[in-house]
């Protein structure tokens, strides 16, 4: 074996890294909103997915395409529960990114590709955690918990996470203490499609205020502390002081279980609430409404 052989391998590896970034970069754009710079990617022709958290709440939004051309973008919709926002540009010549859901074991190589002023940016590391579905603190259902052990610049948030074969794992966002999380492709497809169709992600609404209480007979229950007049709960005949003990027959001991039942598809659905009232249990049907926008 010659002296240079190991170096050749390192060079091959280096070239492979650069090639991976080169594959992803044509679909990654820089996103500028008021006081904020982030990244995004072409999801479908003329439609850009970006990180909701990094996008300003107000003001104009512009994107810089690969190559440096800056154009105006319009907000189609945003969902802060899954950190996904959708933008539209009047251009259909930028090729969309192919989202895939490769299996990403812990320790697998991952590259984060972002964009700044029309030029790609990159960071590399490994998948530091890869587990099943989870719920964000705001109640969004995210299809997999994928964390990356890499240091990512602010402007790359909303860009792509790719694995060693060049497949797209999802969108990079910041979690606690600037930990890099991936919003997986499956979540993006589901949420972005809904945003494109109706501009927002509906959320179920009961029109009831709850507090966790310790029950006389032991354990915990969820007590109704407030009933919104004309709300779904009021219409179903729920009263202040009732304790919700079951939801479609499933026992309820946590507010969390209620939250899980109020996802985007819950609106319009009728559920059977088991109520404990003055020591007696009764079932009432309740039709879930859509939560008014706050």
């Amino acid at each position: 074996m010659t002296e240079s052989a190991p170096f050749t391998k390192v060079q091959d590896l280096s070239a492979a890294f650069a090639r991976l970034v080169g594959i992803a970069a044509p679909g990654v754009v820089a996103v500028q909103s008021d006081h904020s710079r982030s990244s995004g990617f072409l999801w479908r022709p003329g439609l850009i997915v970006t990180a909701d958290e990094a996008l300003s709440e107000e003001g104009d939004v512009a994107v810089t395409l690969p190559g440096g051309e800056s154009i105006a973008a319009r907000l189609v919709g945003r969902d802060h529960t899954t950190d996904i926002a959708l933008l539209r540009i009047d251009r259909s010549d930028v090729p969309p990114v192919r989202l895939e859901s490769p299996s990403v074991p812990v320790g697998a190589l991952a590259i984060a590709v972002g964009a700044e002023d029309g030029a790609p940016t990159a960071a590399s590391g490994v998948v530091s955690r890869s587990t099943g579905p989870w719920w964000s603190l705001r109640g969004g259902e995210i299809d997999a918990r994928i964390e990356l052990d890499l240091r990512m610049r602010r402007s790359a948030e909303g860009g792509l996470a790719i694995e060693a074969a060049g497949q797209t794992i999802g969108m990079t966002v910041f979690g606690p203490r600037r930990l890099v999380l991936v919003i997986p492709s499956a979540t993006i497809e589901r949420v972005a499609a809904r945003l494109e169709k109706c501009g927002h992600i509906p959320r179920g609404y009961l029109g009831l205020g709850f507090q966790l209480v310790a029950l006389e007979e032991g354990g915990r229950g969820v007590m109704v502390m407030k009933v919104e007049p004309q709300g779904p709960g009021a219409k179903a005949g729920v009263h202040q002081g009732d304790i919700i003990v079951s939801w479609n027959g499933e026992p309820i001991r946590h507010v969390r279980s209620l939250l899980r039942g109020l996802g985007p598809d819950s609106v319009g659905r009728t559920v059977t609430l088991g109520l404990s009232r003055a020591g007696e249990t009764k079932n009432v049907p309740l039709t879930i409404a859509e939560r008014p926008t706050a």
């Binding site: 603190l137 507090q211 507010v255």
Partner: protein, 126 residues
């Protein structure tokens, strides 16, 4: 550890208010080898407490400020930073700061049921 220390029975205290439950446990544990249920006045190696009491005391290590608790409740209701800002009469920037600090804090102590934590102290509107 010496052999004699290993042989000494584990002293177990039953810190349970519910008398019937405490008596049942005491009866069940009375004849377990290597274990001795001690009276309230004796010192113990370990203690049995109500499961609700454990989750209650575990809340202590989160140490959220009243403002953070307020923000946590609004987060659980699914509000955006903008909606939280409007509700609390603060700027979006400040709301974002509170949310970030809260998430960092919860992550640091590994709290996964933060919503339940908020719901024990505040009314959550769903």
């Amino acid at each position: 550890m010496s052999k004699s220390a290993e042989a000494r029975p584990i002293r177990l205290a039953l810190n349970i208010e519910n008398k019937a439950l405490a008596d049942r446990l005491a009866a069940l544990l009375a004849n377990v080898p290597g274990l001795r249920v001690v009276s309230a006045s004796e010192s113990a190696d370990v203690a049995l407490v109500h499961s609700t009491a454990v989750s209650g005391s575990a809340d202590g290590d989160v140490l959220l400020t009243p403002r953070e608790l307020e923000v946590l409740t609004l987060l659980a209701e699914g509000m955006s930073n903008k909606a939280i800002a409007r509700r609390l009469g603060i700027s979006v920037h400040t709301a974002k700061f509170h949310v970030g600090a809260l998430i960092d804090k919860l992550d640091a102590v590994g709290r996964t049921d933060a919503v339940a934590h908020a719901a024990r102290r505040r009314v959550i509107h769903l």
